[in-house]
């Protein structure tokens, strides 16, 4: 197959790849946040390139979660890429498994595998399956792809922590589609019954699903009221899921909580980063064709340059 682009071709744009180790070593919170904001955009560009090259994959929901996944793996979660079976590691279940490409990009930058491996996405014999597979991809805590499983699994992880007297955190990232599934509401009920510590539901609330706007396909609002009515602890605000600073603010709030379980809603945009793809359900899973690629990529590069100037 002819190479159309590659994650490594970002160098052609004369924009440097950020050394992820520097993010982890940075002690100034504002500088670290700016670096994570940059890395999220860099991953967005990587994913855009890979999905175009492969002609397969889900752009909309992947880019929606870029900042959330970056913040989790570079600031919030306590993990050891060199020891993936470390029993005390924090867990993340990416219930919206169609965000696999972004998860892989973040995991690669975090050191679980090489960035070059991203180019094997969805290939035969690749470790990077179409949707996440915990037995193939280092760092993936649960195989997902069928919506609605994540919260139940994370609840099981959190209950296991309590049973085994461990203090790791159990996070689950869900999208609108997961919230449609009845099983998610079974999990919402059961979490509020058992109340295991350190169970956090993160909602990537882009409000667009495969067939159209969530308000048309299956309205979820008033979502905060629903979660409160189910006896969850939720913050007084909806955070901007594309601002690393806001995500870090939300983490500061989460860490102060003592009444479990905790849910946080992040307003995001499906297709984030390419103006004509944002909030359009078509870009849930459409192939990034050559024309859209050529038209869209400069926008992503332009944003990356702006973020570079703030480093």
């Amino acid at each position: 197959m002819e190479r159309k682009a590659s994650p490594l071709d970002i160098a052609k744009n004369k924009i440097g790849r950020l050394d992820p180790k520097k993010i982890l070593a940075e002690t100034n919170p504002k500088k670290k946040a700016a670096m994570m904001q940059y890395l999220a955009q860099q991953c967005r560009l990587d994913v855009f390139d890979v999905l175009h090259e492969k002609g397969t994959g889900h752009w909309g929901g992947a880019t929606s979660a870029a900042e959330l996944l970056t913040s989790l793996y570079f600031h919030i979660m306590n993990v050891r890429p060199e020891q993936t079976d470390w029993p005390d590691r924090d867990r993340l279940v990416v219930s919206k498994g169609h965000a696999s490409s972004m998860l892989y990009a973040i995991l690669a930058n975090r050191g679980y595998f090489s960035i070059e491996e991203l180019r094997t996405f969805r290939d035969l014999n690749s470790r990077l399956q179409g949707h996440p597979c915990m037995n193939k991809t280092p760092g993936v805590e649960m195989s997902t792809g069928v919506l609605g499983h994540g919260l139940s699994v994370a609840l099981g992880m959190a209950l296991a922590a309590r049973a085994m007297k461990k203090n790791y955190w159990s996070f689950v990232l869900v999208g609108d589609g997961c919230l449609n599934e009845g099983q998610t509401w079974e999990g919402i009920m059961a979490s509020a019954k058992f109340r295991p510590p350190h169970l956090v539901l993160l909602i990537d609330y882009n409000k667009v699903q495969l067939d159209g706007p969530s308000d048309v396909i299956m309205p979820m609002d008033p979502l905060p009221d629903k979660l409160r009515a189910f006896n969850w602890t939720i913050p007084p605000k909806v955070y901007d899921g594309h601002s690393v600073l806001e995500i870090l603010d939300s983490w500061d709030w989460i860490r102060q909580q003592t009444t479990w379980p905790v849910a946080v809603i992040y307003k995001t945009h499906k297709g984030k980063g390419v103006s004509f793809m944002e909030d359009e359900n078509k870009w849930h899973g459409a192939v990034i064709d050559d024309q859209s690629y050529t038209k869209g990529r400069p926008e992503l590069v332009e944003t990356l340059r702006k973020l570079e100037a703030q480093l």
Binding site: P87, R91, V93, C133, M134, N135, E141, M142, S143, T144, G145, V146, H149, S152, V153, A154, L155, G156, M157, A158, L159, A160, A161, A163, M164, S170, G182, Q183, E186, G187, M189, A190, K193, F194
Partner: protein, 312 residues
């Protein structure tokens, strides 16, 4: 044959209590039927290791999957029909795909929830669960084997389904060598035809073989408690000796023991076959043993089909 009868579910509830210390990582989940399945006994003794999730089987299966990734050994208990149908997606995508050590114990299986009728009876569970990659499928023949299957499953590093009966049934294997996962138990040696049986009808097959022997028909009687992985070696050795195979099960003849044996012998040793089980039909309410008989599962049905098979 002994006339002593014990219900597998009573034995299951008792076993969980007795093995709690032996398997300290074991936890038990139930979906609001713990009074029926008898897991409530464990729940009362070990409330911190017992999780009643309410009537939400899908959630229960995935909670167990999450627990298993973190080192616990979950035993998931509900009715067999709910195991196979209310959490099929969860068993496939979370437990089996990831090869997680979760033990599913499907109670009230076959027609044993006889009076509750078709809604609660479970006659296609083996077809569904046997088709799941990584899943081990065990159908104990009595309460003794049920407990042995449970302990073996808790020591096995992968998903397991154990199918158990609601009602008291004859104890067959007290003071016998224990059930071994993946191994056929030979109950009787014979040369005219092979009868392969699993689950509650095992006692019927034992009686049928005895009756046939009085009519000078010698039966090679195999108890096939593990449907998957099936003991192909023993099956082939028997079928190649007798040339005829009759399977007997409390399940549809589609996809259960009949399917498993046909797949194995069709590939390695094709012989004349017939099947005792439900003929692609739902059943109805009624008393257990007569209900099974009406739907073709009885000692008489086994004898009749065995003789017919020998005439072919």
């Amino acid at each position: 044959m002994t006339t002593k009868e014990i219900s597998m579910r009573i034995a299951f509830g008792q076993a969980l209590l007795e093995i709690a210390d032996k398997f300290p990582k074991m936890v038990v989940l139930d979906a609001d039927v713990s009074t029926s399945t008898q897991t409530l006994l464990f729940g009362k003794a070990h409330p911190e290791r017992f999780f009643n999730v309410g009537v939400a089987e899908a959630n229960m299966a995935d909670i167990a999957g999450g627990m298993a990734t973190c080192g616990l050994r979950p035993v998931v208990s509900t009715f067999a029909t709910f195991v196979s149908l209310k959490c099929t997606d969860q068993i496939r995508n979370v437990v089996c795909y990831n090869n997680l050590p979760v033990v599913f114990v499907g109670g009230y299986a076959g027609l044993s929830d006889s009076f509750d009728g078709t809604s609660h009876q479970s006659v296609i569970d083996l077809a569904i669960l046997r088709a799941m990659p990584n899943m081990t499928v065990i159908v104990p023949g009595d309460a003794i084997e049920m407990r042995q299957a449970l302990e073996s499953s808790l020591s096995y590093n992968g998903p397991t389904f154990i199918r158990i009966c609601r009602n008291p049934t004859p104890v067959l294997f007290e003071n016998h060598p224990p059930l071994q996962i993946g191994k056929i138990r030979k109950i009787r040696d014979g040369g005219d035809l092979t009868i392969g049986v699993c689950g509650v009808p095992t006692f019927m097959a034992v009686d049928a073989a005895e009756q046939l022997s009085q009519e000078d028909i010698s039966v090679d009687l195999l108890e096939i408690s593990t449907l998957k992985p099936i003991d192909t070696e023993t099956l082939v050795a028997s079928a190649s000796k007798t040339g005829r195979m009759l399977t007997v099960e409390e399940h549809s003849i589609i996809g259960g023991l009949a399917g498993a044996v046909s797949e194995a012998l069709g590939k390695h040793c094709p012989v004349r076959m017939d099947f005792v089980g439900l003929e692609d039909t739902f059943a109805e309410s009624g008393p257990y043993i007569p209900l099974m008989a009406k739907y073709g599962i009885s000692k008489q049905a086994i004898v009749q089909k065995a003789k017919a098979l020998l005439k072919q």
